[in-house]
């Protein structure tokens, strides 16, 4: 499984990758997470690539992705690495309505920022997107996903946001 979270710097796409990595890790799978760093980060672009599998993993960078979570419109440039039949989840608050996605891909539009604001957690648009992705693809069980989410923030010393983050997650989860 190859998932790319992409957006502007500050949209939490690195953390998104870490949260999903933790979910895969808890399932006992091999995981690799790679952030955009150095030159790729210039101009405010950010992304992280998560790959997980029962078997050995290939390279850490994007090459044949199953899912792209595009938190903004420029992130759609990575569609060139999308597998046929892959899924793109667009944050419709930052992607124009007239943007068309090729029919060979599956796509959904979620107003991630709007939904995050709805639960008074404006920074959690990335978590809304994860909720939607997990519901759509059935990647991990809801409870286990929430556990991983909690753990990542607790390790960062941000345990007090657990309830707010779970609310954002569920908002995304129920948006589909």
């Amino acid at each position: 499984m190859e998932i790319v979270f992409a957006g502007f710097g500050g949209q939490g796409v690195l953390t998104s990758g870490l949260i999903v990595s933790e979910m895969a890790l808890q399932e006992g799978m091999n995981v690799t997470w790679m952030p955009a760093y150095g030159p790729t980060m210039r101009g405010g672009k950010a992304y992280s690539v998560v790959k997980y599998s029962d078997g050995p993993l290939g390279g850490p960078d994007m090459e044949d992705m199953d899912i792209l979570v595009a938190m903004n419109q420029p992130s759609l440039e990575y569609m060139k690495y999308m597998k046929e039949g892959g899924l793109v989840i667009m944050n419709s608050d930052n992607v124009a309505d007239d943007v068309e996605i090729d029919e060979k891909y599956d796509s959904v539009r979620i107003p991630c920022m709007t939904l995050a604001l709805k639960v008074n957690n404006p920074k959690a648009a990335n978590i809304v997107a994860i909720g939607a992705m997990i519901k759509k693809c059935g990647l991990f069980e809801e409870e286990k996903a929430k556990e991983a989410l909690k753990k990542i923030f607790e390790e960062k010393g941000k345990g007090k946001f657990t309830a707010a983050n779970e609310a954002a997650f569920m908002e995304g989860y129920h948006s589909l």
């Binding site: 995981v31 690799t32 790679m34 952030p35 760093y37 030159p39 290939g58 390279g59 090459e63």
Partner: protein
Amino acid sequence: MKKMWKGNHAIAEAALRAGCQFYAGYPITPQTEVGEYLSSRMPELGRTFLQAENEMSAVYMIFGSYACGMRSMTSSSGPGFSLKQEGIAYMCANNYPAVFANVQRWGPGLGTLDSAQTDYLRDTRGGGNGDYRVIVYAPNSIQETVDLMYNAFDVAEKYRNPVEIMSEAALGQMMEPVAFPEFKERTEDLGWTFDGTNRPHGRIENPEKPGFVRNKIKTMEENEQQWESYMVEDAEYIFVAFGLPSRTTRNAVEQLRAKGEKVGLIRPITVWPFPAKAFAEAKGDIKGLISVESTDAGQLIEDVALTAKKTGHGNAPVYGLFSGQNIPKTKEIIEYFEGIKAGQMKEVF
């Protein structure tokens, strides 16, 4: 349970587990996190972190400390690691151990911050003046980086020779699950180190003795080769790749095998000494060797061709897929292979 660790943090923690007491270094992307991590962790453990004024000063600080037997290391990247070469040559001249980490960036001069393997020839051939070799490990995962670093000090002390962990920008920046070994400490006196009493150090004299350098290199070559072979035994085409490209190459081998192609992979774990023994194990009728590397001009390919000649596969054509600033993608490797089969690719050697 394993935890996700960033490569650069993991290499630093592994060094501490291995008993590293002193780190001196200078910041340079993409390895800066090694020093950052140690700057807070080492004082916690009662050890010494020192931010040096430049790369040369850092290397001579550990030249001095390891002369006294203290497990010490430095790390760098690109032009910074070039600056350390003088000190590495001095360590070899004096038979001092030391541990280095080179988190490679792409290119000559300032280069770029992209992941690459363009320091291969410099690091495997010594890099400084004179005739010497450094044992160079090229891990392809963060867990392997940790495991190799954990033994690096022991190997360096065994041969009284510098040891390098040759990482790559992406391997330093990415995260993977890691389990760490327990803390260890060498307590016994190495016997030759400087303690103020002017006991024999076996230093300047040795390299000047006829045969000393050659014998030392030969012993390390004989004992320290490490590699991983994958489906090599009956392979007609053997890929050779190390570090991150070895992972996409392995995927390519799996996919090609599924299509019935007799392909295999030799993954050097030590890039010096180069694992000639792995080539000797290949018994198939080899129609081609394919070096897959993140370089522009082709560097690993020189060792592939030389080793093929040494191990009786000298007639096999040697091809090279050089991906420059990128890790070669599995698809590209498969396409390249199909090009070879179709007679569209020209061999390099």
